[in-house]
């Protein structure tokens, strides 16, 4: 992991305050945010001189004044043969919960840039690192991307410690382990592996640690930097590392035996292994009645298939297998096709691209322009294009249907968009036969994929009723007595459970 280059092993140069201050000033030359605050205390027999070093804007000023500067100025020093000045201050003077004595330059730098304050004292070759962090953070809010109607509404923010505390509050057990790591040779981003010790799949854990060790990157600004470095099937559009902004989701996945990876500076927490069915498991499924959530889940799977195949099947039916359409439908498509200049296949590709353009524009543009976009999208492109006979009306319906179905499973967006075109190509060359072959290719690919040693389709093809309890439907909670296969070494989830409530 990216431990730094030139400062490894470097020590503070001297026990002279001026020299040490000068040394730090040189290190941070051209950095005007650094503040050196000199202090003198003459209450004791001799005048003590200190210097506080911190970054402006990253410390809590009130706390600095009250709990750091005041005790330093009011402290009456009684020299002690056994202890140094800093030891005495650490033990007797400082009103700070986290104080650390060190002479390693590396640690001092890390402290300064992360909101800590360095206390240098005359006559000491070491320094104290005081926890005075006080930078502003985004408050805890409901994540925009994963809204629920019923269920917890808190979401992670950008501070790793806040995030860890949120999970810790959900699983109050000594079994919950946190292991800190650092990523990025320059950004030195903090990360944390989190798992339940008695539930976790050891193979997954060691595999994750092995892959994380190999990462060599200068900066990690979001967890996707990590994802791409540790992902199975790195060229595939299928996600094999999960991510979420919700502490309840992370807690649920930890309980199933998964491992979570927190990264400082991003609310997106990674979970591994990530199975294919997780794309269809919304967190709200577990918070509402199981029948509704089962219906919703089946609907989601259906929408996925529809979104993937609909344009391809339409093109195949209309250009290869006209005999398979019911006659009235054939006639209405026939009527709509009259006078349209482009072949059906090209029409479909064009409209799919238009849909993607609208979707991307909608994501990137400022909210105030939403109305313009919807008017232009719906009226100009939809209605006018049909009336001007540039595209036929059924294509608009097919593309819109396919697009909206795709929005139902946002987490599979990338996979759907790419493979929709692939299937469309198959349909244009070989008709329904090609669609079927294309689907076989896709399925073979999915069934061959693993996530940290666990096949991503494992739950879908393993036999046994227990495996199906959280796949196509969501069984009631009292029936889920075991954890999903492969995810955990300890599969019993609720011992003595499985009884119908009376």
């Amino acid at each position: 992991m990216g431990s730094s280059d030139s400062f490894a092993g470097a020590k503070l140069p001297s026990d002279k305050l001026e020299q040490n201050v000068l040394y730090l000033k040189n290190l941070f030359s051209n950095d005007d945010t650094l503040i050196f605050r000199d202090l003198e205390n003459s209450r004791g027999k001799e005048t003590l001189r200190f210097c506080l070093v911190y970054t402006d804007g990253m410390v809590n000023n009130r706390l600095m004044n009250q709990d750091v500067i005041r005790p330093l100025l009011e402290f009456v020093f009684k020299p002690d043969e056994d202890a140094t000045l800093l030891d005495t201050i650490q033990l007797q003077a400082m009103f700070s919960n986290d104080v650390k004595k060190t002479d390693a330059v590396e640690e001092l730098i890390q402290g300064i840039v992360y909101g800590d304050t360095i206390l240098l004292a005359q006559g000491c070759p070491q320094a104290l690192i005081l926890n005075t962090k006080g930078f502003t953070l985004r408050s805890i809010a409901e994540p925009e991307g994963e809204r629920v109607i019923r269920g917890p509404r808190e979401g992670f923010n950008e501070s790793i410690l806040t995030n860890l505390s949120m999970v810790r509050r959900k699983i109050r057990s000594q079994d919950l382990k946190f292991k800190f790591l650092t990523f990025g040779t320059r950004t030195k981003t903090k990360a944390c592996i989190c798992y339940l010790d008695s539930v976790v799949n050891r193979n997954v854990l060691t595999e994750l640690e092995r892959r994380l060790e190999k990462i060599n990157i200068d900066g990690t600004l979001d967890s996707n930097y990590i994802t791409e470095n540790i992902k199975d099937s790195p060229f595939s559009a299928v996600k094999t590392v999960g991510s979420t902004e919700r502490p309840d989701v992370v807690a649920a996945k930890l309980l199933e035996g998964r491992v979570a990876l927190f990264l400082d500076g991003t609310p997106m927490v990674l979970t591994v292994p990530h199975l294919f069915i997780e794309h269809f498991q919304a967190d709200e499924d577990y918070y509402i009645h199981y029948i509704f959530s089962s219906v919703d889940r089946i609907l989601r799977i259906f929408a996925f298939v529809l979104s993937l195949c609909l344009p391809a099947v339409y093109v195949a039916m209309v250009t290869f297998h006209q005999e398979m359409l019911p006659t009235p439908l054939l006639l209405s498509i026939f009527a709509a096709r009259q006078g349209v200049p482009f072949p059906t296949a090209l029409e479909t590709v064009m409209m799919l691209i238009v849909f993607e353009i609208l979707r991307e524009a909608g994501t990137r543009m400022p909210g105030v322009m939403a109305q313009t976009l919807s008017i232009v999208g719906a009226l100009v492109i939809g209605q006018a294009a049909v009336e001007a006979k540039i595209v036929s009306a059924p294509i608009i319906i097919v593309v819109a249907m396919s697009g909206i179905c795709g929005l139902m499973i946002v987490r599979l967006k990338g996979y759907i968009i790419i493979h929709r075109y692939f299937l469309l190509l198959c349909a244009c060359t070989l008709g329904l036969y090609g669609v079927l072959l294309g689907l076989m290719v896709l399925l073979t690919g999915l069934f061959g994929m693993t996530s940290f040693g666990v096949p991503i389709m494992s739950d879908i093809y393993t036999r046994g009723l227990q495996s199906y309890k959280d796949i196509y439907v969501r069984a009631p909670w009292w029936t889920m007595v075991r954890r999903p296969r492969f995810l955990s070494g300890n599969r019993v989830r609720q011992s003595g459970g499985g009884e119908k409530p009376k």
């Binding site: 297998h321 005999e323 054939l330 096709r337 009259q338 072949p343 060359t429």
Partner: protein, 384 residues
């Protein structure tokens, strides 16, 4: 390197499979076709064997006021397929047969034989085996197709659904699709009866109506059945799915109408030497649907008696109809022969040769069993 090679081989294999097993290799846009809804086959003129008329789909108007209209194409040819392709001298679009619903055969052609006409439809990939076959009672079949459609945009669709409805709720004629026709033509001891169609003069131009059946011997037409005859023929063939039975105290009286809910006919032939006889058992469940106002049969004579009337009517009508057919045609349209063939193959071998004569002399006994399930929304006496 080895892994790359292996991947390449797998991709190549997949590609080869993709191309070798590809069934349909014809991307074609719908609008480059002329969709055929129905066709009429007549005897050709000017030395050609066939004159074929196609009813195709044409779009008229534009935008929201777009409408489907019939487009009639016709062509002469020495074979059916020849005529089909000859339309390309006139039309810029190839004909497309997958949605063709009906084939109307002119009586002239029917008398000469159906087999040569049907071969292309069965052999070619496009036309469906579920097309309905009809015989035109008019001079030509083309005349029928030239009639203006009434309820839907295309006459062929109108005829096809009329046939479907009459099969389900009228009992005459019942539809016969191409594959059934082929089966009958290829079976022993069963002859063909196709639905017949004719023009019907109406106030504003002609319309078409179904009109009984056309009787065939082998693949050649030899006569007609009236709608009533055709209905009782359908009882024997066990093809009644619905319809009415008008009955009364004496055969021919029309006091009570029963609506048939369910009908089942079993035919039991027996052979002795060179003569044969047949027992036809008809079982019907019906609803008491209508009575003429003069007498309330339910109060006066009771439901059981009405059932008896109906049984008698059925027995009488079916028997006389079979006899009529025996006299007029030497064609076993009822399939008595095929029943013998199926149940007593050895006896069939003996009678097979002289079957036409044996059929004409066959003794027929009809047993009917009618069960009236309900009397509609009126109870006895009410409304009397």
């Amino acid at each position: 390197m080895k892994k790359v090679l292996k991947t390449m081989i797998v991709i190549l294999e997949a590609a080869i499979i993709l191309f070798i097993f590809s069934g349909c290799w014809d991307y074609h846009e719908m609008e480059t076709y002329s969709i055929v809804a129905g066709m009429a086959i007549d005897k050709g003129q000017n030395g050609y064997k066939y004159h074929v008329t196609f009813e195709c789909v044409k779009m008229s108007g534009s935008g929201k006021s777009q409408q489907i209209e019939p487009l009639l194409l016709n062509a002469d040819g020495n074979t059916i397929f020849d005529a089909v392709r000859s339309t390309l001298r006139e039309s810029d679009k190839k004909l497309y047969f997958s949605h063709c619903k009906i084939i109307i055969v002119g009586s002239d052609i029917a008398k000469e034989g159906l087999r040569p006409v049907l071969d292309w439809m069965k052999r070619d990939a496009e036309p469906r085996l579920t097309q309905d076959l009809l015989v035109s009672k008019e001079k030509t079949a083309e005349e029928i197709l030239r009639v203006k459609p009434q309820s839907v945009q295309l006459l062929s669709f109108q005829i096809a659904s009329t046939l479907e409805e009459s099969t389900g709720f009228y009992g005459s004629p019942t539809s016969l699709q191409l594959y059934e026709v082929t089966n009958i033509l290829n079976s022993d001891g069963l002859e063909l009866v196709l639905p017949a169609i004719e023009k019907k003069p109406a106030m504003d131009g002609d319309t078409v109506q179904l009109s009984g059946g056309a009787v065939f011997k082998s693949d050649k037409q030899i006569g007609w059945l009236s709608p009533d005859q055709d209905r009782y023929y359908n009882y024997v063939r066990d093809k009644i799915k619905g319809g009415l039975l008008v009955t009364g105290p004496t055969p021919g009286s029309t006091n009570v109408t029963l609506e048939i809910i369910d009908s089942k006919t079993t035919v039991k032939p027996s052979v002795s030497g060179q003569s044969a006889s047949v027992e036809i058992n008809v079982k019907i469940r019906a609803a008491y649907a209508e009575q003429d106002g003069e007498t309330d049969f339910l109060t006066k004579v009771g439901l059981a008696q009405v059932e008896k009337y109906a049984e008698k009517t059925l027995e009488f009508e079916i028997e006389s109809n079979v006899k009529n057919v025996q006299q007029r045609f030497d064609s076993d349209i009822f399939g008595f022969g095929s029943k013998i063939h199926q149940s007593k193959p050895k006896e069939w071998d003996q009678v097979n040769k002289n079957w036409d004569q044996i059929f004409k002399a066959m003794k027929v006994k009809v047993n009917a069993e009618v069960k009236i399930d309900n009397t509609g929304l009126s109870l006895p006496k009410v409304g009397d």
